[in-house]
Symmetry: C2
Subunit: 102 residues, 2 copies
């Protein structure tokens, strides 16, 4: 299989029973997954994969997106932030303004 | 925040509406998430985080677990395989027998 160069994980706050709840889901993270996927397709970023996840224990920063294998955690990811993250991926940089503080 | 040294993503086959279905979910991947988390807690692996995800498009190999940032994709992850993966993490090695073929 082709492994993604950037695997974007969008917190969907899923609990073990499949119920989307919690901070990220409340902040429209499910719509964000769809938005990111559409943007990835539209830009033709074949090396980028988008997955949604259960709660990643970073609720105060939600909606949260993690980019692996780089390991960059992004916070407060609106559609504008999503664009900045994809711009950074295209440019080989990092969307500094949205990084979760260490 | 403390970033995980090993972030294990277990495919839960979630669709956008939150419904767990598909190959990994059928193969008890939701129970696997719980099993992995309990083993991580039991072993005291503080650098390991377990998250479940939506479908990762690797259904034929399910249940699938990805370890980031190392980027190792594991297939057919039973409880025995989960133990092997955690053993490998503890030993700084890779659970070769369960790697998804390139």
């Amino acid at each position: 299989m082709d492994k993604p160069e950037h695997h974007l994980f969008v917190c969907g706050s899923f609990r073990a029973n499949g119920t989307p709840q919690g901070n990220c889901a409340k902040k429209e993270s499910l719509r964000l997954v769809q938005y990111l996927q559409e943007e990835v397709d539209s830009r033709g970023l074949s090396g980028v994969m988008v997955s949604m996840t259960g709660c990643m224990n970073c609720c105060v920063n939600g909606p949260v997106v993690v980019d692996y294998p780089s390991g960059h955690w992004y916070r407060g990811v609106t559609e504008e932030a999503a664009e900045a993250i994809l711009d950074a991926i295209e440019n080989g940089t990092v969307a500094e303004a949205y990084l979760v503080p260490n």
